[in-house]
Every structure is written in C-alpha cells, then in structure tokens.
Subunit: 307 residues, 4 copies
C-alpha cells in the first residue's frame, strides 16, 4: 500500500508544470535537470519503498546540517548550545541582520551561520580532512552504506562562490563566536554540504530519528532518545528557514530541506521519508518535494499534530 | 498513575524558590500570589486529573488566541490567511519592527498584532458585544461549561494600558491591514484576553485539539481534522513567542502560553494539559508551568517528537 | 540681480515635465494643482524677492517642526533633549523600527515621532487650544504677519487619517516617552502641520535663522545665537528625512521640507529661501523645490560648504 | 590671537581627567599614551598655528577616507556614486544590518563598508602596491610633505584582526557590489588607514577643502570647487558615524574622525583644523578632540551655521 501511495504521488508530480526554480548560484547545481523527482520511505521494520528517481544521487546540501548537529550533540552534549541557539530565526537562511542584533551568536544550527558554528564547535583543533572523515564515516554508519561520498566538484564550486558564507563566518569570528581559522571552517562546511546521496540512502540515514535514536533495522544506537527527540524538534522549528511555519502547517512533520532540492522528513515511530526534486519555491525549499510530502500526509495520516 | 504523576510534579514545584516574575504591566495581574501552582490533564476518555490550585480561576490572556483562531478558521477557512501569516516571528510578542518590514501584515495569529488582526477578521461589521458573546459561547461549548466569563476589571485595566497594542493596531490600520475601528477591535481583544478559567476548565477546552477536532467526551465536533492539525502546528511553531523553539526543545508538544501564567499543551491522541503558575520567565512564559510540562513529558513519554 | 535669478529659475521650472507626485494620503493635499511653483528670498536688509506663485498659500506641514523646535528650545533649553535625540535617522519620516530599537526615544525632532515628542514636551499640562494659540502667535511674531492661520479642513483630514502617527505616538507612550494624552497631542500636532503660508511669509519667518537668532528687519530677538546655530545644524542633518544627505550634497544649505511641497532653506548671513512646488520626489521632498535650490546655489554661490 | 586660543585650549585639555577610552582592538593602537593632545590650524594665507603634541605622528585611520574619496571623485566623477551612497547611515561605523537591508550597497563613503567600496572603485585592475603608491603620493601632494608614510606595523595588525571588515567586504561582494579580490581590497584599505601624520601635516592636507578645492599656500588645484563643496557636505553629514548629528550640533563644521583619535575639521574660507587625542567617546570619536573643537568654535565663531 505504501508502494502504491508513492507510485501515485510520483505520477501526480510528473504532471506538474510549475516545478519551481533550480538553485543557480553555483554552476554544479544550476545544471541539474529540473524534471527529476524521487521519493523513498524507510520504515523501522527494515522496508524501503521507493518511486521515481529514488536512486539518483543529488547534493544533500543543508540536509547535512542534521548530521553535523547529531555529531555535535554526541560529542559536546548540551554545551553545544554555548555555540548556537535553538530558536527559529524568522529570517532567510543567509541573513546577517539578526546575527548583528544578537552579537554574532547564530539563532539555530540550521541557518548557515549556525551550521558554520557547529562545524567550528566540532573542530576541536583538527584539520578539515579529519573532521570530514568523521562526518562521512558517520553518514556511512547511520545510512548503513559505505559508498556515500563527497562531491568535490560541488565543494570546489561552493568555495569559489563563498562570499555570503564567508561574510557570516568572519562576522561571527569578529564577535569571538568562532575559534578556528575561517578558511578551514568554510572548507569543512562546503564539503559537508557537497555530500551526494540518493533518496533511498537518505531515507535509511534518517531512520535513527524515527525510533528514538536507534536505527532499528541495523540496531545501531546513534544517539540517546532525549537527543533524538530534540533533533526532531529543531527540524520542526527551523528546518525550512523562513518557510518552517508553512512546512509545519502543510506537512506537519519534522523536516530538513537542502538547496539541492532534497528534503528529509521524520514521522516518529512510522518512517523516514526522503524526497527530491531540484526546483525550489520562493523560500528555497523543494517545490514538488513539499507538495509530495503533503500528499503523503493526506494518504497516510502521518502528522505529529493529529492522533 | 497520572494522578500520581501530577501529585509528584505539584510537590516538586512547591519546593521551587525561583518562580519567575509575575506580569506587572497591569495591577490586576501584578497582585496575583506567585506561590500558586495548578495542573490538570483531560483525556479523551473523559477523565480529568488535577493537582494543586487546579480549580482557581486565572486570566487566560493569550491562550484565548487559540480560541479566536479556531473561530476564525471555522468562519473564514483559509481566507483567514489573507489577514495574517503563519511563520514564527523570531521577535517578542509585541514587536513592531517586523510588522514594518512586512508592510503591516502580522507574522502569525499568536503574536499580539496577529491576534488583533484575527479579531478584525471575525468582526464582520458587528459590535464588540456581539463578537464577545460569540467568543464566550464558543468557550462554553468547547469546555462544556457555561460558567466561564470575562473578567471585566482585567479588561478595563488592559484598556487603560493599551498603548503598545494600540500602536500595533494603528500601525496595521495605516497599511490597510485592519478594516474596522481600532478602538472597537482593541475593546474586543482586551475582553477576549480577560477570560478567567481554571486549569480544569482549560484542559477540557483543549480536548478538541487532542482528537482531530472532536471533543470526545461530549462528542462535540468543533473543527475539521485538517484544521485541528493545523492549529496544533501553529501552537508548536508560534505558541511561545521567541521562546517557541525552547519550548519545542524542552517539552515537545504544541502549546500556547498566556502572560497570566497559564499554558495549554496538547498531546495528540493522549490528552490536553493545562498548567498555571503566575511567575514568568525572561520571554514571558510561565516558569514553573514550562518546568512542570517537561517533567510530565519525562514521566509520560508524551512528545510529538518521539515514537 | 536676485530678482533676475528667481525669474530665470521660475522660467526654467515652468518647462519641467517631470514634476514628481503630489502627496495623496489626504484629499486636501491630493487636490492641489501640481503645476504651481513659487520662490521667495528674504534678506537681512529687509528685502524680499519673489517669483512665480510666491503669494499662494500652501500647507507648510513638516516645516512647522522648525517652529515648534524653536519654541521647545526657548522654553526648555537643553532639557528638550531628554525628550528627543539629534541624530539623522537613516530611515523614512514615519518609520517605527528605529523607535523600537531605541526603546521609544525618537532620533530627532524632524521625523514625525520626534516632532510629536516636541509637542508633548511643550504641552506642560495645557489644552491643545492654548498650545496652538502659542504656536500661531509665535509664527505671527517671526514672520511679522498676523494673518497666518491654521487650515482646519487640512487638520481635520489629517486626524481622519491619523493611523501611522497614532501608532508612533502610542508606541512612544508605551515606553513612557510621552506624558500627555495621545489624542490631544496628535490634535495639536495635526493642527501645527496644517498652517498655511505663502513663500513670502515663510521666507520672512526664516530670517531669524539667517542672523544668529535675530529677525534683522524687525529687530525681533527670537532665540540666542547658540540656539540659532543649532537649529540650523539640525535642519542640515535631519531636515529632509532619508534624503538629507542628498540635499546637503546638492544644495549645501540647512533646510526643512514639508509634504505639502514647501522647503525653507537658510543661507546664514545671506538670506532665507522659501520655495514651493507640490510634486514630491521618492523620499517625500519637493522635486522642483530641490532643483530650484540647486540652481539658486549655482547662481549665487550660497552654500555653507564653500568659502 | 589664534595662537593664544590654541594655547588656552591645550592648557584646558591638560586638566581633563575623563579622557575617553583608547581604541584597543589592535595592540598598536591600544599602546598609545592617552595623555597626549595636539592641535593645529592651517589658514589659507599659509600660516599654521599649533599647540601641544602637534608634531607627534598618529594613525589617521578613517580620516584617510576623505583622501580616497577625493581620489575617487577625481578619477570617476559622479559615477563613483554607482558604488556607494551619500546618506547618513544612522548606524555604527561597522554595522552590517543596513547593508543587508540595502542589498549590499553601502550608505556613504565614510562608514567602513563604503570606504572599502571606494577602494574597489579606484582599483581599476591594479595591484594594492600601485593603488597605495597613488594614495600616498596624493597625500604628499595635498599636504605638501613627502615625508608622510604608511605604518606597516599598524597595517599588519589590522590585517590580523580583519574579521569585521572582511565580513563587510565579503558581504558586499556576495551582492556583486565589489569587483576585485576581497583580500587585495582589504590589504589596500588597511594600509590606507595606517597612514601616520601629525596634526600639522593633517591641517595642511585639509587646506584644499577650505578654499574651494585649491590649496591656497601651494597653489595646488586639487579638485573642482563643486567637488570640494560636496566632500565637505559628506564630512558634515557622515563624518562621525552615528555621532555626526552630535558633532554638527556641538561643533558645526564638516569633520572626519579616526579611531586613532584624530579629527580633521574644515571651516570654509577660514582654516583647516587638525586635533588629536587618543581617548574616544562612546561612538568612537576623540573625546578631547571634539571638546577642543567646540571651544575653538566658541572662541573664533567658526561655524557654518552662523553668519
């Protein structure tokens, strides 16, 4: 039945003519074919249902912030919150105004400034290579898939267009909110964002947030139940930038979007959903991805806001 | 067992020495004894569990915004969103800056400006008395209790200290975002906020949001399942002003606080919780109320973010 | 020769096709014929040179803020600055954002909030009629012309469209930055703005700022040399809202504009210039008025920034 | 008599106990002895009057922005204004909020972002060395003194603490408001700010702004009368950051301050004043320097706002 739902949604998405606008700030993202659509649902019993382009790799971009946040909470516990807040920002993902208003402390770990601060917090004196090695190993572990890797061309291209993020990083540094070298932090950050995954891989990687911190099919204990709950709350409150309220209203699940067109959504106790379509809406979240999740919610009743 | 939990929490709260700061902007609120604490849980099977001062009346203040939002969605459906947005604001409850930035359109129905816009939207040419009559009848209906009423002394006192809200209302009006007379809208708004309820009454009044729009014990169909889900999402995203992220992180339930020290929280499918303690934390939400809800979550496992 | 200059400028202005946009927020201003243009120069030797519609009455609007500031400094001395700042705001004349950022204290006496605060400061427990009587007497005194009066229809119309200014006033009041009744303060403020004057009257009224506080032709000592200098500095820094830098750059004289299309400019030691044309530029200052003052500067060399 | 005035002022300043706070964001500035005070007045007839530490070199810092603005206007004419605005910002010198609000275009050439944009505008494909060579030659020319040079230790130290300015530069670049390499632009900018001059040298360097663009003693035609007037207007409106209104009010002359404690003020037709004392007031301008200029104004009557 889940398979039928995903097939129906994929068929319906194929008919959509207004597919949003592909991110064009770096060439590697701009060249992606906007007509692609994939969806996968991984359930705690070990099943993965997929439809459309669910095995095509795409750039997960900001979805990676969920993974570095998880690493940060594992390593630092609640002292991570000395580095970054946990309130919705009300501003776009790359806004600097609120950063000035709050003296360089980023609002939450899912806006760019906050994710950069998380990278700084987990650096602990190490070089980018070491941190990136830890990040990719962690992704292998949670997705149970050692084939996942960085897309170095995408990372390179991001570095070549780093100015907005460089501004955020230097700004935080000027307030003493970053400890390490800005160029190295950004290097790590851009590589983290360049990770390429398919919907299937991403859905599996999200399973630990479905079952209180444990990837049930593999039995891997990723994080404590308490932290799992809290990561979900952050995804709900801040996962879609200034479109987070809209996503909560329409979809009703914790989720995190990336500018590559992917979204990872979590239905606690039920399943992890990864959806991907490159065209974005006006606030930078996948247009068809959001729509598909709405339809999935209607068909399955999955929403944290209903019984 | 729920009774035991509430008794334990109440006992623990009695030991707290730092109880926050009672709202003091109007004398009627300032004079409330800060040592009071009450909690009630109403469940879909018709049980109500209570402890502490659960039968003492208090001023529900902004919790009333949940009720007028429900009325607004019932009457206007999705056209209500022409009047008000549904994104967290990232700003305090009475901030005017974001209102200027967004040309007079309030961010969501739970900041003061947004609640005032909801009153304007449901006015439909009527006088304050008629609208207030509708509001109080609605509260009687959902709480199944016709004894609930306005506290006219509180309302009067609010009117006498109206300047911040008058600024918000005139500002919206100057952008054409209010249709009716500012003084009348504010009159309605201040009376709505003055409604006095006990924890028991409030917990019962929240039951319709526990069970997809239906007050199960009474069988009253209050709103559609779709709208119920969405009201919960708004409570989650915006129910605690710029402390909403913190509340989601610590408590993990949709909730709405009032400056009188009350909080209504919803555990879909499980129960409606009303808690009250007059002292507020730095962002204006009940200090012990929030703590009590955290403890309740730990003991019951109620959180929309875990399975 | 000055007469020739003014005639030339008036002739040139008659050829202008892009005359800006007449203020339309109240009907009384919207109906003014945009093709009018007048200019007068009053010199300390008692001469007044005029051209165009220099004897037509127009609504001086915000130019009146120079007069109430002068009254405020006379009555309160430097304690006036407890009520209002003296920095350019960088924001439009009716912005409320900076008012929130600075806790309700207006930046300078020439933005609306600041002028309202000046009215409050000079109220001293009196009724609007008494204050307005003082204001109009003062204008009679400095202009040496007892025929000048309020335009009650304009004032009435402003009151009927008061929302933006009411928002500013209630907002300041909520921070304790206004002492008296908001409705009365606004009543005074709108009448003050409604004063109708001709270019000739206005140029004469400005003479005291040309000669260190003394209206040389009448010998009236209006204010101290120190205060005269300071009023000029405020006109330079803040007289044209967020177009003040542009006016200083293009014209180089202290000046104050009004939304009725008038501008009063002061060339210390040389003369007071009043110019009027109803069409406004994008920041709300008279389009042809500004242009005419630039031309006058080129022809006369009057600028405080050259020798 | 001018000599007497300067001696009196210097004697009076020696008695001041509250001398402000020396800039401490780089060690080279932090180590300067706060008890120093110097003042020089250069007049168009070739006289230079001095008192106190008028021959001690200090870091002119932001005063250098007057010189690069002059170069920019010489080279680019009014097309310079495509790169930067000319309105007071109402914000501190290093604020980034208004830069976001105005899409990366700096408000004026005297805030840091604007000065960086001027450096970019005059770069024209050249390396920092070439531009810096042009800048120092220009300073030699206007001051008639070839001994003036950069302080490379100060420049180095600024580069080591570049984060705030790097944030501004990257931010502008991200909006396409800078054309050249951020690191090179900043390198030029920090060297420009490191120029070391004495009060005597600085007063002479300001003479061209006293006499409509001509350094009268040397006869050097530096810039057109029109541009000279406009540079003065910018100094008046924006020369002291968010203390510009206060400076205009208290001193009444166009001026530009630097965080090294220097101020250059211009009395058109009368003289150029350079004053220096390292302690700063709360908005970053020399505390005693401002006071000394007020006293000078009282004694000489120099103010553009009186006759």
């Amino acid at each position: 039945m889940m398979q039928q739902i995903l097939d129906d949604i994929t068929a319906q998405m194929a008919l959509e003519t207004d597919r949003g606008k592909v991110a064009d700030y770096i060439p590697q993202l701009a060249h992606v074919n906007p007509n692609q659509f994939g969806i996968s649902v991984a359930t705690p019993d070990g099943q993965v249902y997929s439809a459309g382009d669910a095995n095509t790799l795409f750039s997960i971009q900001s979805i990676s912030k969920v993974f570095t946040l998880t690493i940060g909470l594992s390593k630092l516990g609640s002292t991570l919150w000395n580095h970054v807040g946990r309130e919705p920002s009300g501003d776009p993902f790359n806004s600097i105004t609120i950063l000035e208003y709050e003296s360089g402390r980023p609002r939450n770990p899912f806006i760019n400034a906050g994710a950069i601060a998380v990278v700084d917090a987990i650096t602990m004196g190490r070089e980018p290579e070491e941190i990136l090695d830890e990040i990719i190993q962690f992704v292998h572990f949670i997705a149970d898939d050692a084939s996942i890797c960085f897309d170095y061309k995408v990372a390179r291209s991001e570095i070549d267009h780093e100015d907005r993020n460089a501004a955020l990083a230097h700004f935080m540094k000027s307030f003493g909110h970053l400890q390490y070298d800005v160029d190295k932090i950004l290097n790590t950050y851009f590589h983290q964002c360049s990770i390429a995954m398919s919907c299937e891989q991403l859905a599996r990687a999200g399973l630990f947030l479905v079952s209180n911190g444990i990837n049930q099919p593999t039995g891997a204990k990723v994080i404590s139940p308490q932290q799992s709950k809290r990561i979900n709350s952050l995804m709900m409150m801040c996962g879609h930038y200034d479109g987070s309220g809209e996503f909560a209203y329409q979809v009703g699940l914790p989720g995190k979007s990336g500018v590559g067109g992917g979204i990872l959504a979590i239905a606690p106790g039920k399943g992890a959903i990864a959806v991907w379509s490159p065209g974005l809406n006006s606030v930078g979240n996948s247009k068809l991805g959001t729509k598909a999740l709405e339809l999935l919610g209607e068909r399955t009743g999955w929403s944290v806001f209903s019984k």
